[in-house]
């Protein structure tokens, strides 16, 4: 059997959407991956492990094999019967699948939410208030002479971010690492911080205070304290000078900023800082999105409903009130009387109350892998990996859309998210119309 080498493969792990992978396929199996980070090769070489391959349905307390047709029929009937079904997940699947998911939630009058509500939800709330000065990653590669990572550790979470897009990349106007300054702000000295020209270690949960002080320093306002968030005023003012005097600055932030005390207040302060810096120089800001298509989930949901996540269709039109209509909050209040989870593991990731309610209602999961959520499910619908076993378009963290490829066949008989969801939508319509 001859080997086949496929170039320019698009990675489907994090929001970097690296598209320069070289994958070797032998006998319909990926055997080698070049140019990838460890996370990516881990997925590319390990996609066959821990798979769900057989549709399963609970009889009594045990999961028994069934067919897709039967499982989809029961799923359709379950969500039709529900007064407020929840449709959750969506960050590890394609735009095409997400769009069908939104229609399904609309058709059945449920709630549609994606994993944003547990990661960059505060970022979006901040953007509603302030807006954002941003760009595609190539702009940063070409122009940025100053890069900040705040509460973000790309060395581990986005391993190729710095070499492809920021300080270590080669751009038109910045040729190498020595043309750029790297600033890291974090509560501990991360591996990214070790590479920094300037490392600012702040006290946990004081991001807001530091951000506000930095904004004041950028404006030239006098700050009365001697330290803010454990950082000396001298250092803050020195940092402000660096920001003002760069030609093109970029601030990347991670969950260390969105999930520390203050949440959307932190983000509003960061967005405001960057907006204001544009009166002195060029400055952009970007969240480090985690899942490969969480940005796609936000975008698709927005063009269909006007809102990026936490959409409530129970009144027949899209309504949006994160904190009330977001999955964790609904479940913690004991609302939603069935849930369809697509490519996500809320049982592991949600707070206890929310996860507990999930296990008490009919729970249906569409996922390529066995997870704690599939194990708690009443129905499991195995699915193919987007970008490995099926095609689909996805959004990079900066909104560049790429068409991922099918490299190998899914396990025998396993369907794609798009196939499963369209069959489900069709079944729902045939039962209700």
């Amino acid at each position: 059997m001859s080997q086949e080498v496929i170039s320019n493969v698009i990675c489907t792990v994090c929001g970097c959407s690296c598209d320069h992978l070289q994958v070797t396929i032998d006998n319909d199996k990926i055997v080698k991956v070049k140019n990838a980070c460890a996370m990516s090769s881990g997925k590319m070489l390990g996609y066959r492990n821990e798979r769900t391959t057989q549709p399963m349905m609970k009889k009594g307390t045990t999961l028994k094999p069934t067919t897709y047709e039967r499982a989809i029929d029961v799923t359709a009937k379950t969500i039709i019967k529900s007064s407020s079904p929840l449709f959750y997940g969506w960050s590890l699947t394609s735009n095409e699948a997400i769009a069908i998911g939104v229609d399904l939630a609309e058709e059945t009058g449920g709630f549609f939410d994606n994993t944003t509500s547990t990661c960059h939800g505060p970022t979006i709330l901040g953007v509603h208030e302030i807006g954002e000065s941003s760009c595609t990653l190539g702009e940063i590669r070409h122009r940025a002479d100053l890069v900040i990572y705040w509460g973000s550790n790309p060395v581990h979470a986005h391993p190729l971010h710095m070499s492809r897009y920021t300080v270590m990349s080669k751009g038109r106007f910045r040729k190498s690492r020595s043309d750029r300054k790297l600033i890291v702000v974090d509560v501990r000295k991360t591996d990214t911080a070790k590479l920094a020209d300037v490392f600012i270690q702040l006290e946990p949960n004081n991001d807001y205070e530091l951000m506000v002080a930095l904004r004041a320093a950028v404006r030239g306002d006098e700050i009365e304290q001697e330290t803010v968030a454990g950082v000396s005023i001298d250092k803050i003012e020195e940092l402000a000078e660096m920001l003002i005097n760069c030609e093109f600055g970029a601030l990347f932030f991670g969950l260390g900023l969105t999930m520390s005390a203050g949440k959307s207040k932190n983000i509003e302060a960061a967005l405001s800082l960057v907006t204001e810096l544009n009166s002195k120089t060029k400055f952009v800001i970007m969240p480090m999105r985690g899942h490969f298509n969480v940005n796609g989930a936000n975008n698709v949901t927005t063009w269909l409903t006007g809102y990026p996540y936490a959409v409530d269709f129970t009144q027949g039109f899209p309504r949006y009130n994160p904190g009330e209509t977001s999955a964790v909050d609904l479940l913690a209040r004991g609302e939603c009387d069935s849930a369809l989870i697509v490519a996500s593991d809320p049982i592991s990731n949600f707070p206890y109350q929310a996860a507990k309610h999930l296990t008490s209602i009919p729970l249906i999961t569409i996922d390529p892998h066995i997870t704690p959520t599939t194990m708690c499910s009443n129905i499991i619908l195995p699915s193919a990996h987007v970008g490995i076993e099926t095609t689909g378009s996805t959004y990079r963290m900066d909104g560049v859309v790429l068409e991922t490829r099918k490299l190998v066949d899914p396990p025998k008989g396993v369907k794609t998210d798009v196939e499963i969801l369209s069959a489900l939508l069709k079944r729902v319509k045939s039962l209700t119309r």
């Binding site: 320019n8 760009c135 595609t136 702009e139 120089t281 952009v284 063009w303 039109f317 068409e403």
Partner: protein, 566 residues
């Protein structure tokens, strides 16, 4: 199945076929207008009703990265305007940036059947097509932004016009785009550094090419490729007092390239670049000067970008202008620069009648429409949503058709603006035939959509029937009748199917997406590919092979083939 329809006794306005208000029957079979149909054809009695070809909007921001970021920026915009799901239609939201389904339905209800998204960043055009594919009923297309593209600026700097043409052909093919869009030529590249340019002859730093050279170069390229539309230009200095001069200079920059057959440059939303004066205090309307130029030179067409008083969301590829507007208004601001290509910005905005500047802007758009004599070279737009949402078109039509309607608004605008505008002295009132020209026939002609914008044999059966009997109503004295009629058709027919009846959408069908392929010589193409690939990795953060949109990506692609001269 309604394969055949006869529309009986309609009062027809079909300017491309020189029909103005004649009582006629029109027959439809298989989506086309035909000579006759069988006796079993469905009959629509349209006596006493006005019938026109389906509306064609040449410039409306309905899809893509900046539109969607505008939606995301403004939950407050949607909350006040919701659409409830029905048996036949999806739910959605408005107001100034409607969700995709709502966009399609609202256009169809007004009798519009073709809409072009006029500003797509090439690198993000997959996104634009995803949204266009999600927009029901209407036919559509998009114009890739090419006026700040690194390859293009370098080819023009080096005088490599053939390669530049081949590159543009490749770009249109790769992005499934329709026409060349130029926004603030060179100025958006400069904005990449947070800086501004002002003059047509200012060289762009690092590229050593001027806005004038970009406009002229792409105008030549457009001709070499025989593209269906002409260069579609948003000039430099948009939104600055005195910019009407830049507009005239830009039009004049290509005058010598005209061949007399048809316009060779389209200046879009000319209201925003029609400011006279030197500051906000003495701002005035440059519309009379621009209209004079347009009247004297047939190589130019324009569209309005009419301002509607009220709340809207401004969004353009003109990053520096949007920043300027953010500073001016203090409103929230989004900026989205795109590597090696372009940028964009978004700022919510409220046009107030009592505000001097906004009132002047309102006047500029109408003055232009009324002072440009040839309706085939001035198209009705609000530059949706920049001047106001497209759902305001009925208001604009009423202002154009009725001096009385204008006077009523003039009496309510800022007093100083009232004194400084020429508008109160303009008596012209558009006829229904002229309205049909500026809203469908002329834009269709400008886009060379041969089967659109008219009702001749073989045309696409895209039709709007309005509840309006011009023989019974004195239209210029009844602006409310005009507004009501154009707000909602009795029937909108798309490809021979009734898609909307008295505001009720019949269901979800999806129109075509037009794009252009201009074939250059094989040798030139091969040389170009080598050249692009040698630099592509240096310019972009994605691989060359992942850049072009694959053929199966669009729902209903409709390719327009052209033969290039190179």
């Amino acid at each position: 199945m309604e394969k055949e329809i006869s529309i009986i006794n309609a009062i027809v306005f079909d300017p491309l076929n020189n029909i103005e208000g004649e009582k006629l029957d029109v027959h439809i079979r298989n989506g086309k207008i035909v000579e006759s149909v069988g006796r079993k054809a469905r009959k629509i009695n349209a006596s006493g009703k006005t019938m026109m070809p389906g509306g064609v909007d040449i410039h409306s921001h309905i899809a893509g990265s900046k539109v969607n970021t505008g939606r995301l920026l403004r939950p407050e915009d949607h909350r006040k305007d919701v659409e409830i799901k029905t048996k036949h239609t999806h739910s959605g939201v408005g107001y100034s940036i409607p969700s995709t389904r709502t966009t399609g339905y609202r256009y169809a209800k007004m009798g519009y059947t073709t809409v072009f998204e006029p500003a797509t960043p090439p690198l993000k055009t997959r996104h634009t097509h995803e949204e266009l594919d999600s927009t029901p009923i209407i036919d559509k297309g998009c114009f890739p932004l090419l006026g700040n593209n690194w390859f293009i600026m370098e080819y023009l700097r080096d005088g490599r016009l053939d390669e530049c043409a081949a590159f543009v052909a490749w770009m249109l093919k790769a992005t499934k785009g329709y026409a060349i869009k130029i926004v603030d030529p060179g100025g958006v590249e400069v904005w990449g550094w947070g800086k501004f340019i002002k003059r047509l002859d200012d060289p762009i730093p690092n590229f050593d090419v001027t806005p004038r050279e970009i406009v002229r170069g792409l105008c030549k390229v457009n001709k070499m490729l025989n593209l269906p539309h002409i260069i579609h230009v948003h000039t430099n200095n948009l939104g600055s007092p005195g910019n009407y001069q830049t507009t005239i200079e830009t039009m004049d920059a290509v005058r010598d390239l005209a061949d007399g057959k048809r316009p060779i440059i389209h200046i879009t939303h000319v209201q925003f670049t029609g400011f006279s004066g030197s500051s906000w205090v003495n701002l005035g309307s440059g519309a009379p000067e621009i209209a004079d130029y347009v009247n004297d030179h047939n190589h130019v067409s324009v569209d309005l970008g009419q301002v509607i008083f009220g709340d809207t969301t401004t969004m353009t590829a003109d990053g520096p202008f949007q920043y300027f507007l953010h500073q001016l208004s203090g409103n929230k601001w989004v900026n989205l620069d795109v590597e090696a290509e372009t940028g964009s910005g978004i700022v919510p905005f409220q046009y107030k009648r009592t505000n001097y500047v906004n009132a002047i802007q309102w006047g500029i758009g109408l003055e232009l429409a009324l002072l440009v004599k040839d309706p085939w070279r001035v198209f009705m737009t609000t530059d949706h949503p920049n001047g106001g949402p497209f759902t305001s078109y009925p208001k604009v039509i009423a202002w154009l058709m009725s001096k009385k309607a204008r006077e009523k608004m003039i009496s309510r605008i800022n007093r100083t603006a009232r004194r400084r505008l020429d508008l109160p002295n303009i008596d012209r009132e558009y006829t229904l035939g002229e309205i049909a020209t500026i809203t469908r026939a002329a834009p269709a002609k400008s886009l060379t959509l041969m089967n659109k914008g008219h009702l001749g044999l073989g045309a696409d059966a895209d039709i709007a029937i309005y509840d309006l009997d011009p023989s019974k109503v004195d239209l210029e004295n009844k602006p409310s009748t005009i507004r009501k009629a154009f707000k909602e058709t009795l029937y909108t027919i798309k490809n021979g199917k009734i898609v909307s009846k008295q505001g009720q959408i019949a269901g979800n069908s999806y129109g075509n997406t037009f794009y252009t392929e201009s074939q250059v010589s094989k040798n030139l193409e091969a040389d170009l590919m080598k050249d692009i690939q040698s630099r592509f990795k240096d310019y972009y953060t994605i691989e060359f092979e992942n850049y072009p949109i694959s053929d199966g990506f669009l729902r209903n692609p409709a390719k327009i083939n052209c033969k290039a001269d190179v």
